[in-house]
Symmetry: C2
Subunit: 666 residues, 2 copies
């Protein structure tokens, strides 16, 4: 039995391990030595100046486990300097948010002594990730020991190792004490209260905190709709004028709450320092390839890929492929409706048990086919987006989100649209809506949290038992923790969580005038969703790296688009209703024209409302402008002594604004 781990255990205790690096089991020793030297090396020599140690796991059942697992930590001073590198914003003495600098550290609020506790765990881990990611090749032509893994000056070492499979994964470690405290205040107490967003942000970073903030906000925003919807259900209100009122309220309300959310998220993001935070020039993503050339902007050597080819791939391959998939999805739906009609006709001819069971067959087949299609499409979308060869991770993500979004939208709602506008059967529509909503909610909760939790629990027990058996009674919290977390599933980002909310929003808003109870169901679902999501983050998945985010990004656009589509669908539904038709007995044409006119007015009203409500609350606008002005004034005072710097500053600032313009109009 090997017990070489005592070395690492005593070593590790010299610093707090923050990030785990797992290299492939068969990594060549020279590559490991080289990488560790680079990570430990001084910054002036191009190193990251971090602390790193190997974890030696005992062999188990005669089989050696992966020996190439490392933990990375850092000195406090290095972290503070790193905080400056990544452009972290912190609260200043005067209550405003300012970019942190090491030289000015004493002037920041909550900075005491040597700065212990000034940076949160999540921030420290983000800084270490940034430092590892920006570890650049110098003169090495390839990774030592791997002549085929080419490098060139300026290439991120970690990304290259990752894309070649030498670096299996790296992830931040949980902090057990903080986690216990967070989970207590978050989901373990039963009393009604807001989520501890600041604590979530502290532990998981801004991206996730914004998701949970949005989830909470969205749920609260649905409460008025739910309350208004309840009497419709209780009293069986079927008058269309009441439904019309409800629909109009919904449409205006959804615009208002989406606009107000922007203000809320700006307020949150300002307090977290991400509203003003701007990432430095993004590195190409790990999978980006192309002929080696020079970046026209940075002048650095990096793969260059012609943008014409990239656009051709998107417009000539991806767009047609997505359209084809959508068509296929429609086609499958039509087949399903045919099958159902056929089943019903057989049942009507000869109603017995066998044909009664047959009635359910089409739905089951359809559900299974849809799930399979969804899965296949997801793989295809990922493959295609990868093949489109996006230079930036953000652009990759946006294109992937868009592809999956459109397909899911069609899959979820196509049959409802068909029932509503082709079959024009409002009773069936209501039934289908209810069925879809309830089953998808239950399925989601099971698939998302309970199933992974159950699997995870089994695995945990196994690892725990194994470690006990291996090590006897020795205390091995760190080794065990790393072993456990290495085997946990990776949280793939907020994508699926947002997608779920997006589809729920669709159920609520698209056909709101037919099924007012949808809002009630979604509110109930979201209350449990908060708990299951929180639990999932804390106990089911690996801890994710924090991601500075100032808003919910492409999802804001998706929700807004949905609310525009819902204006059209609701107006159409109202136009189709027999009650409204009864108002215009002599002329259907006139009725349609009036409905269309109302729809246009509502759409125009939405756009004007979105235009008129400022996206950032006044007091934060003033704070931002004041800080900008202060900086400008401070710079002006230095101008007399240093014209050169002033020039550069001016150029930089003005161009930054110009860049934003570009980004925005794109």
């Amino acid at each position: 039995m090997q017990l070489g781990l005592s070395v690492s255990d005593s070593d590790v205790s010299s610093f707090t391990p923050l990030v785990v690096l797992e290299l492939a089991d068969d990594t060549k020793a020279e590559a490991i030595t080289w990488l560790l030297n680079r990570i430990r090396g001084k910054q002036q020599n191009g190193g990251a100046e971090l602390l790193v140690d190997q974890l030696l796991f005992p062999a188990q059942d005669g089989q050696k486990s992966n020996q190439n697992v490392f933990v990375v930590g850092s000195t406090l001073q290095r972290l503070l300097k790193g905080a400056e590198d990544v452009g972290l914003f912190k609260e200043f003495q005067d209550g405003t948010m300012r970019g942190f600098t090491y030289a000015n550290r004493e002037s920041f609020k909550d900075f005491y002594g040597d700065g212990e506790g000034f940076l949160s765990d999540a921030e420290c881990q983000y800084i270490i990730k940034h430092e590892l990611d920006t570890l650049r090749a110098k003169n090495e032509e390839h990774v030592p020991g791997y002549p085929k893994v080419k490098l060139y000056p300026g290439k991120s070492v970690v990304r290259r190792l990752q894309s070649k499979g030498v670096l299996v994964q790296y992830f931040p470690l949980h902090n057990k004490e903080d986690l216990k405290r967070l989970s207590f205040s978050w989901y373990k107490k039963i009393k009604l209260s807001f989520q501890p967003l600041d604590d979530i942000r502290h532990y998981f970073g801004e991206g996730l905190a914004l998701y949970f903030g949005f989830l909470e906000y969205f749920t609260f925003a649905l409460v008025p709709m739910a309350f208004i919807g309840i009497p419709y259900y209780l009293f069986d209100w079927e008058d269309y004028d009441k439904y019309v009122l409800f629909a109009v309220f919904n449409l205006v309300w959804s615009t208002v709450f989406l606009e107000v959310w922007k203000r809320c998220s700006a307020t949150l993001a300002y307090g977290w320092g991400t509203l003003s935070h701007k990432k430095a020039f993004e590195e190409p993503r790990a999978g980006f390839h192309g002929a080696l050339g020079f970046n026209p902007i940075t002048g650095r050597e990096e793969p260059v890929y012609p943008s014409s080819k990239y656009h051709l791939r998107i417009y000539l391959v991806s767009v047609p492929f997505v359209l084809l998939c959508l068509y296929l999805s429609f086609y499958v739906m039509m087949v399903y409706f045919d099958m159902e009609n056929w089943a019903i006709s057989i049942y009507n001819e000869n109603p017995n048990l066998a044909t009664g069971i047959l009635l359910f067959v089409p739905s089951i087949i359809y559900a299974v086919v849809i799930e399979i299609m969804n899965l296949l499409y997801r793989y295809a979308a990922e493959f295609l987006t990868n093949w489109e060869n996006h230079r930036l991770e953000s652009s990759f993500q946006n294109h992937l989100v868009l592809k999956v979004l459109v397909f899911n939208f069609v899959n979820c709602f196509a049959s409802l649209f068909y029932i509503a506008f082709v079959m024009q059967d409002m009773v069936l529509l209501r039934q289908s809506l209810a069925t879809l909503l309830i089953t998808s909610q239950i399925l989601n909760q099971v698939m998302e949290a309970f199933l992974p939790y159950w699997l995870q629990r089994r695995r945990n027990k196994k690892v725990h038992k194994r470690m006990r058996r291996m090590m006897g009674d020795k205390e091995l919290p760190l080794l065990e923790q790393v072993q456990l977390e290495t085997e946990m599933n990776t949280y793939l980002g907020t994508f699926d969580d947002y997608l779920e909310q997006f589809l729920l929003f669709g159920y609520v808003s698209l056909f709101s005038c037919v099924y007012p109870l949808a809002a009630v169901l979604v509110v109930l679902n979201n209350i449990t969703e908060v708990y299951s999501d929180a639990f999932k983050m804390c106990h089911v998945f690996k801890r994710p790296f924090s991601e500075p985010a100032a808003n919910i990004g492409v999802w804001q656009l998706a929700f807004e688009t949905m609310s525009i589509i819902s204006v059209v669908t609701n107006c159409a539904l109202i136009g189709l209703s027999s009650q409204v038709k009864a108002y215009f007995p002599e002329s259907e044409t006139q009725m349609i024209l009036i409905v269309v006119a109302i729809e246009h007015v509502l759409l125009a009203f939405k756009f004007i409302l979105a235009f008129v409500i400022p996206d950032v609350p006044k007091h934060i606008q003033v704070k931002l402008a004041k800080l900008e002005f202060d900086s400008l004034e401070a710079l002006k005072k230095r101008v007399s002594t240093n014209f050169y710097v002033w020039n550069k500053i001016l150029i930089y600032c003005l161009l930054r604004t110009a860049f934003y313009f570009i980004y925005f109009f794109k």
Copy 2:
């Protein structure tokens, strides 16, 4: 006869006079002395360090003319330093645009020797305007000699003098030689060529050059429409499928050309250095009033006005007033249609000369009433916008433009909408369109250029004769020029010119499927418009101060809105046509639904197109990003020596971006 002017004449020759300052005739001597001292004073003492001299006009016919006319000039060095203050962008040695700095002046392209000719006339005048505008009160409590004209530290002196009527006007002088050269290349040669946009920008500044650029671009963009429209007229094509084709082409084309214009204007603005140029914190406009308080952003003492009151004024007074005016305008239109019906019925009863003349009376009355209403509304809008008390000139302008725009839109197009959709008389619609278009074009050209020119010419001759009489044969070019230009009308900005183009665009696009010849007429009009506008700028109006502009601002929005409305109107017109109705003989409902569906698809297509076409061409994006990156790198290298500056820079830059976000979403 006083001949004291020799003093000034010899003085004036010591510097090139660039700007004329006219104070009220009865200005107190101590105020004049104080102002001149401030203008001449050293910068470190809060002066503007400019050169200024009095012009003494001879008395004429026993009546003294205004003696308080001054010319302002500057040394070259002062102008170059001023160029840095206003944040001018100039072409650097490497071909990119960079913020000009005095210290780096040698590194800029076209900078030779002491920098003679580096700055254009318009730039020099803009710099002088900026320096005068930012001349701030120090400890003075009021303007000397005027105890009622209060001042406070930091208040712009010139703006206070202007709002109190002490400063009558200040304007830049024409440069006769440059003007001659410009007008030759611009409108005096007959050969077909593009306008000399760079020369126009050189002489009149970016705002006007962009207008002329847009005018030219717009005209070219209409040429394809015009070409396609001609055969419809020649061959009397009345098939609706052809009209549908034409309309669809128009709708897509108008979206594309508005999007492409953004790219063109970005390219122009980059070359002129205004794309990255950002104005410093704007001063409150001259008319802004409120209780003296502290600006929360700059901390300076200035009038403060509660934004709640400002919003209340807009939403509770201005918006209802505008709506009321629109209603009134509709009402007048209805009365007009009644009158016309009445006149026709009388004529039909008893057709003779008197009743024949009576047929024209309603139109004449209506035209006169509309003109009067327009005039009154314009005054009311200006008054209201003033009363709303906008802090910034830009916000004032936007609100004024919006008010006038909406009213003019309704006035111009309401009767056409009525004919098209209520009366559904396509022949009358076509006639009215043609009449309106042609008469408004002729009227515009006359009112805008020829009439003022004629008046100006008469005045010129009088002044010339008077000056000759006064001075005998002495050469007095400067005195005479100042005298002439002081009395010229002030050019009130590009507002009316853009408005005209906007309305023409409405005639072309709103009913394009009914009257395809509109584009031809507009193209013809615009070809002469270029010449008459150019002539007007050079010879009819005072030279305007140049205004750095990076785009056409609110007009882009206005044109885009018009192109959205035109989708709706064209689809409706097609739906109304008897040919289309003939395709669906059994079901009008189905036809309407199809038309509405097509309309929605077109609208969605427009939005997607606008989203997909990037607003700044790739090569300029790269240039901007490269410069930003270079500046960032240059700053990084300085970081080690000066953490403090780096901190400030970072904050400033990041906040600038955040600020843009705010600005954009507002």
